[in-house]
Symmetry: C2
Subunit: 345 residues, 2 copies
């Protein structure tokens, strides 16, 4: 009964084979600042100058992973991970520079790995981000069968005098909302439970509920609407930056509106948001109705159709709205004393 590492479920060549399938797509993310090749103990990237600030973010994609797996849409979560990180970095005013990933599972399926990490590489290439390295871990027994988890790490840079943040926000500043492309990567455990209960109630498998065309969604099945990509806001951020004085940005992820918009506001300030300024997409309404979820809970969990909110100087509101198609004037920054800091009117 001589043992090998492979026999107990860890096959280093399996990880290497999986990586070999995406090496070319990773190579295409190379930027001029990247030094050397993949496979070193650390990825090398020429430092920007002392007049800049590095912005570092770490993110995951939550249990959207489970839905992507169920619907065989592994590419979505790979791209989402990159976009989530890119959006968090630009919320501080930063242009993204490089990205690293962590892929962990009980047993690597090289085909799935290649689809996920290949999609990450493609997303990096589209956003101009170097995929500088990563870690692939085989952890027998720690993950549910076929489950895998992803973590992403991104470093960006912003000129020292252009870092965004709550300290720049003033009373009367305007809130510009940019639409989301769906749930993005948050609130999936709630959405999945809603669908699981709906399936149980109808005595049907979950997949049937996910794939059935929905009139509320113009015939799109719920599953398709749910696995829509977490959109990156890089292009919109750049246009906004060129057109208006951005004070701060909130990326609406875990915790929804109340969990994120206040992070872009100084102490003592709140947001007054006009509910009539945008239409909550039917996906959110449908989920809320199916699960009988209270409206406040919906806004505390999901982005409800707005993925990014920029706080801009009120005088620049028109230029900001003109710069980003689909953007809406959500409301204003007002003084805040007690209670919830996002007030819907």
């Amino acid at each position: 009964m001589s043992l090998t590492y492979k026999a107990v479920g860890v096959d280093i060549t399996r990880a290497e084979d999986a990586l070999a399938r995406v090496r070319e797509r990773i190579a295409r993310t190379k930027r001029p600042e990247v030094i050397g090749e993949i496979g070193q103990f650390g990825g090398l990237f020429a430092s920007p100058g002392r007049d800049t600030v590095l912005v570092a973010t770490a993110d995951g994609v939550g249990t959207k992973l489970e839905l992507a797996r169920l619907l065989d849409r592994h590419e979505v979560v790979g791209a989402d991970l990159v976009h989530h990180c890119v959006n968090d970095a630009l919320a501080m005013g930063a242009e993204p520079l490089f990205f690293l990933d962590y892929f962990a599972t009980s047993r690597i399926d090289p085909a799935v790995f290649a689809r996920v990490v290949g999609a990450m590489a493609d997303a990096c290439a589209r956003c101009g981000v170097a995929l500088l390295g990563g870690e692939t871990a085989e952890l027998p027994g720690m993950y549910a069968p076929d489950a895998y988890d992803l973590a992403g790490f991104l470093v960006g840079a912003v000129a020292r005098d252009r870092v965004l943040g709550p300290e720049h926000v003033r009373e009367g500043d305007a809130l510009v909302g940019i639409p989301s492309s769906g749930l993005h990567t948050n609130g999936f455990s709630l959405a999945r439970e809603i669908l699981a209960r709906a399936a149980a109630l109808r005595g049907e498998p979950l997949l049937a509920v996910l794939t059935e065309p929905r009139p509320e969604l113009d015939g799109l099945p719920l599953g398709e609407a749910l696995v829509a990509s977490h959109r990156p806001y890089l292009r919109e951020f750049r246009a906004l930056r060129d057109a208006a004085r951005i004070r701060s940005i909130a990326h609406l992820t875990g915790g929804g509106w109340e969990g994120n918009l206040p992070r872009a506001l100084p102490a003592g300030a709140g947001a007054q948001v006009e509910r009539s300024s945008w239409r909550v997409p039917p996906l959110f309404t449908l989920l809320g109705e199916l699960g009988d979820v209270a409206e406040e809970e919906c806004f505390d969990t999901w982005n409800m159709g707005i993925g990014l909110i920029a706080v801009v100087a009120n005088e620049d509101l028109g230029r900001a709205l003109g710069a980003v198609s689909g953007s809406v004037a959500l409301g204003r920054v007002l003084p805040h004393a007690t209670g919830r800091r996002v007030r819907f009117v």
Copy 2:
């Protein structure tokens, strides 16, 4: 049956409470380059100058997590994660700057979280690394009950003309080995399987095999020997750098000797290593015997007592050995044609 996010197993306040327990220890890792506070969309760190190169690493700690959990030694894996990243960065010649973590589990146990992330923060403080941010994810159903996974990301910096790497290595260079403190964070799935089989053979629970004092280990139980910390080599790296011309460094992690030492060697070069230059610690011998693991497989999986190997100019060998207590002259860099690149003599 009105649903809430909390009811389906994701409690954002639980993650916040858990984080609040370690906020002070995280604050102690602050460096002068850190700008602003924790809780922004991205962590801010003043960029080093253009004469430096950023070094980025991503790492996990593997299924040592399972052993730490079984033995209630959660602090070990938190510190290990930081040390693993620090060692990978210094293998490129870099001083560590900042670290971010990813903590994922099906349901956060705030006490366990605080022990793991608190230990990370303390390890960061000891290594002079800023804990700049992180992501805490609750993924109901994706992890085995009570299991959690960790990923770490670290960015360091090195002067552009002091980046280490295989391209600096010449035939005849000397190999300096620095002892490990045990398995570090690699080969645990094999070790665990060996112990599980030993337990089954004796009809005893795994915990009995782990906690029984071992004469081969001077009375230390196997469990204690296995959860020994992955030691950081920062102090030794600095001493070595001051005393000798380091060409490249290999951190012996996943893949053992053959998987890592060649990463520090140029194409066409191999390593000749004298087996008599160090004594393989009894932990490795004991595991190999218990599992009837072939010696080559042991060296391809575990570090076998040497955790870091520096390639130094041969003329500097004496100074290098003098600079790091416990270090040994392992052998030489020689030409290599075919087959395995690490040759033991």
